[in-house]
């Protein structure tokens, strides 16, 4: 029987991040990994998280991989890039949060510069989850990294203006996040674009749910977004990012399960999100990174 091959009328925008060794994501004209349909010029990328402080809440099995590097962001980033094969570094400015160390914009800027000096792969920079503090710090970071073409986050419906302005004036890309709601995702993209921000510098984040913690819900929203994007909805035709690592390692199973449970949780969640159309997977465990990269290669080689 002849297989019907779906023809989509539009394509996902192609976003380039990084300056020294830029990577491209997006550009799909079909669904990832569907035989014959997956006209996807840029395979999904794997990013690894690096923090500006030692992540105290991380389980020992996770921390052990990085050893002393956890205390030196530059070395940590280098290790991720050179030893574990990360395509992108995702710097999480956790220490700036007023409830954490409440470090200053200048401190954060130094960490950012340290990482920029240590690795040449592209950088994602995300805040601490405190809207006001993040605005201050990310504005500073966006200014000092002008020209580095980083991906900054996270813009939300209630807090997007400062970050958007900072990114547009320094040529960075932006992550727009909606709480698993395709309509809010689109509304936020419209609002960001209304500030003269180029649509091809936006990456969508639909919140991430780990396996058993809302994965299916996020999966279907991401799938719908992708289908809307390749069907011609310009305000949804952006690449997508998933923060799999942070969610997988927060689960009860990862924290209390047998030794490799967390890794398996991370790999399983990551594999699912690959199929839902994620273009960047932000992971934590080196083993999860290598396995996920293997999966991506297997899938893309089959073409």
């Amino acid at each position: 029987m002849e297989r019907l091959i779906e023809k989509w009328q539009d394509k996902i925008s192609e976003v380039t991040i990084g300056a020294k060794k830029p990577v491209k994501i997006g550009g799909e004209t079909g669904i990832f990994f569907i035989d014959g349909e997956d006209k996807c010029p840029n395979p999904p990328k794997v990013a690894m998280e690096v923090w500006d402080m030692e992540p105290e809440a991380w389980p020992e099995t996770l921390k052990a991989n990085f050893g002393k590097a956890l205390k030196t962001p530059g070395e940590w980033a280098k290790m991720c890039a050179e030893k574990f094969g990360a395509d992108i570094i995702c710097l999480r400015l956790a220490s700036i949060h007023p409830d954490s160390k409440n470090t200053s914009s200048q401190d954060a800027g130094k960490v950012l510069e340290e990482i920029l000096g240590a690795v040449s792969i592209p950088l994602i920079v995300i805040g601490s989850g405190s809207p006001e503090k993040d605005n201050d710090v990310l504005l500073h970071c966006a200014n000092i990294s002008k020209g580095q073409n980083c991906l900054f986050g996270i813009a939300t419906q209630n807090n997007y203006k400062t970050l958007t302005a900072a990114c547009v004036s320094n040529g960075h890309s932006i992550i727009s996040e909606a709480p698993i709601d395709i309509n809010i995702a689109k509304q936020l993209n419209i609002l960001i674009c209304d500030m003269q921000f180029p649509a091809d510098k936006i990456v969508i984040h639909h919140a991430t749910g780990a396996l058993g913690y809302g994965l299916e819900y996020t999966y279907s929203i991401m799938e719908r977004t992708r289908l809307a994007g390749i069907s011609g909805d310009k305000m949804l035709s952006m690449p997508m990012i998933s923060f799999v690592g942070q969610e997988a390692w927060r689960t009860k199973e990862a924290k209390t399960g047998a030794k490799d449970t967390g890794i398996m949780w991370e790999i399983t969640s990551a594999t699912a999100y690959l199929n839902s159309g994620a273009d960047i997977l932000v992971l934590n465990h080196p083993k999860a990174v290598s396995e996920t990269k293997k999966t991506i290669n297997n899938f893309t080689l089959r073409q």
Binding site: Q157, I182, N183, I184, K186, Q187, I190, L191, D194, D233
Partner: protein, 653 residues
């Protein structure tokens, strides 16, 4: 179970309750009303009280901020006593003692000038309402000169009367007269020289001799049509002979004190004496309205022989003091849809003691007699063209259909269109800002009756949002774009921040009739976006379920008391109405009251109302997954998908 004494401050009123009684229930028992809109489900977070002394158990609801918690704030509905306890009810949480504070509190709550009874300002309709029904009022007066009995014609007094009525009205088949009237006959007939006026009432397909008076009173026959809205009650006094409206009055529905929407009122009805309180609130208002109407043209209550009410299903239940509990419980069954004609006094309505009360039939739990009245008044059930009726009330009902079929749904739009829930909102009364335009960098307002502005009514808020959007003062999510500024560049208005919320000043205090600035803030805009989103999504889902496209709609009838005129262009700009040619829209004003009036004057129309109620199908949006998804897409100006509004896209780009 242990009993504890709960004392409410500053009233210092106490009551003994067991440890399972929450503070909200306890307060109701003492007659103190704490503000809440969810009916005590811990959802709305409005019943905040401060525990001053004593032990308690409280459930964390996420509605109390850290600062408030430190001050001892708890949600009354989620807190139960563990010892004798003293509770302070802060100003913002109180509804006040009904007897003493009602008006003051309402003034505050409804953020406008409150006056108990207001003249109704008629909507200007460019299309006459249906006048095609034969005149045959719910109650008719007939002057009779009876032949005196003779030895050859000595049938009974009562039979003589009925015989004479039948001679004049051959169509009457079944007729009845109550014992009390029969008992009056021998004296009445002889004292009045056999010249009497009978009032014939149409009661459930039977004609009843309601009243017999001596002499010719046939010219004094009056009826009242009432629209019982969730937020507003409107009454018309109608001359049943000339069919003229002699007066019209409106008042806010005082049931607002017990909950803003029908659901919270149904919940309140389950409280101790709740049903009674709700019933009395509406009856008292109806009686006040009737009273002020008849006084104005010097009639007496006895001259009013019929009253007809149109209201949604819950309002109709509460009017008749019928328990509405099952309306909100799966599978959502009202107690009654087709309400028999009863004596008005049975429901507590004061007109002629023998006068009749009819209610327009309801369709289901969430589509009621007001919508049947609307369909009747619009005439959409008579045309072969596909028509849409949109009722912009607290419950935004939408009806789609033609003469073959009708399908309705109900959305929870909130009180915005009637001026509720807005900082400077008022009902469509004289002095209400009903149209707004931004021209030459200045805001121009137009009020009903060209009187000094008192506040903004529904059509005004629609206009201002459209104008702010067109002029890029707000973005498509309804937030102000620019920074706070006393006089934005070259502009004459003020954008400022008040209690952390940005607002635009439409009329300054010195130019307003209330001595306060009239403003629109981001919360007002957000409220209206939710209201218009619900209505638009209702339309979308109804079309989809019925298998039609937007372009198939030939006529759109808009009902609601939101002003004397609604700017169609503005309504499309904000995404309240679908993007169709402006000539397809007809604004009808309050069709609930006009439909009720038609039924008051014509039994034929009342029969038609029954037929409409019988044929209308109801679509429950809460079980339609499409609704939720489309709803969040509609919470944007005009809509997340601008392609649905090509004419607005042109304006905005």
């Amino acid at each position: 179970m242990a009993e504890f004494k709960v004392t409410f401050l500053p009233e210092n009123r106490s009551i003994s309750v067991d440890s399972s009684t929450d503070l909200l229930t306890a307060s109701l028992k003492t007659g103190i009303h704490i503000y809440n809109s969810c009916g005590g489900e811990g959802v709305c977070g409005r019943c905040k009280v401060i525990v001053k002394k004593g032990e308690y158990v409280t459930e964390d609801s996420g509605r109390i901020s850290e600062k408030e918690r430190e001050k001892g704030y708890v949600l009354a509905c989620r807190t139960t006593p563990k010892s004798d306890i003293e509770v302070f009810i802060p100003e913002e949480s109180r509804l006040g003692d009904l007897e003493i504070l009602t008006e003051e509190i309402k003034a505050k709550r409804l953020a406008g000038l409150y006056s108990p009874v207001e003249d109704v300002v008629e909507a200007v309709s460019d299309r006459p309402l249906q006048k095609v029904f034969k005149h045959s009022a719910l109650s008719t007066k007939l002057f009779l000169k009876l032949p005196r009995p003779t030895i050859d014609d000595n049938c009974g007094d009562s039979d003589r009367l009925l015989r004479e009525i039948r001679k004049r009205h051959k169509e009457i088949t079944v007729m009845q007269m109550g014992l009390s009237n029969i008992k009056k006959l021998p004296r009445l007939l002889r004292e009045s020289n056999w010249e009497v006026t009978v009032t014939l009432g149409n009661r459930n397909k039977t004609t009843e001799v309601v009243l017999i008076e001596s002499g010719d009173k046939s010219r004094e026959n009056f009826g009242v049509a009432v629209d019982i809205g969730t937020t507003t009650i409107v009454a018309y006094l109608v001359d049943l002979n000339s069919q003229k409206v002699l007066g019209s009055k409106a008042s806010y529905n005082p049931q607002v004190d017990f909950g803003e929407d029908v659901i919270s009122r149904i919940i309140f009805a389950q409280h101790e004496k709740g049903l009674e309180k709700l019933h009395h609130a509406v009856i008292d208002t109806v009686n006040t309205l009737i009273d002020s109407l008849i006084k104005e043209i010097k009639l007496t209550l006895d001259d009013v022989t019929a009253i007809i009410c149109a209201g949604n299903t819950t309002m109709t239940h509460l009017l008749l003091k019928i328990d509405p509990a099952n309306i909100r419980k799966d599978p959502y069954t009202p107690t009654v849809n087709f309400i028999p004609v009863i004596r008005a006094s049975e429901a507590g309505i004061k007109i002629n003691p023998r006068g009749l009360l009819a209610c327009l039939p309801c369709i289901g739990s969430y589509v009621g007699g007001d919508i049947v009245a609307g369909v009747l008044a619009s005439g959409m059930d008579k045309t072969k063209d596909l028509s849409l009726l949109i009722d912009l009330g607290t419950n935004g009902e939408v009806v789609l259909g033609d003469k073959e079929w009708l399908m309705a749904c109900s959305t929870s739009a909130g009180p915005c269109f009637e001026g509720g829930g807005l900082k400077s909102g008022i009902r469509a009364m004289k002095g209400a800002i009903q149209n707004i335009a931004i021209k030459n960098n200045a805001i121009h307002v137009e009020t009903i009756g060209n009187e000094p502005p008192k506040g903004i009514c529904g059509s005004g808020i629609v206009d201002i949002i459209s104008e702010l959007l067109k002029n890029k003062i707000i973005d498509r999510s309804g937030k102000f774009v620019g920074a706070v500024s006393d006089r934005p560049l070259h502009k004459t208005w003020v954008i400022r921040e008040s209690e952390g919320v940005k607002e635009v000043v439409l009329v300054e205090a010195k130019d307003s009739a209330i001595g306060k600035d009239i403003t629109v803030d981001e919360n007002d805009i957000k409220n209206l976006i939710h209201s218009k989103g619900a209505i638009y999504t209702g339309i979308e889902v109804l079309l989809k379920e019925a298998g039609f496209k937007k372009s198939d709609i030939k006529h759109v009838f808009i009902a609601g008391g939101l002003g004397t005129a609604l700017n169609i262009r503005s309504s499309i700009n904000i995404g309240l109405l679908p993007d169709l040619p402006e000539k397809s829209f007809v604004f009808l004003g309050n069709t609930s009251i006009s439909g009720a009036k038609i039924c008051l004057l014509s039994i034929e129309a009342m029969d038609k109302a029954d037929a409409i109620a019988n044929k209308m199908a109801y679509l429950d949006l809460s079980t339609t997954p499409l609704f939720m998804n489309n709803y969040s897409a509609a919470l944007f100006l005009p809509h997340t998908d601008i392609e649905l509004f090509p004419s607005v896209k042109k304006i905005l780009t």
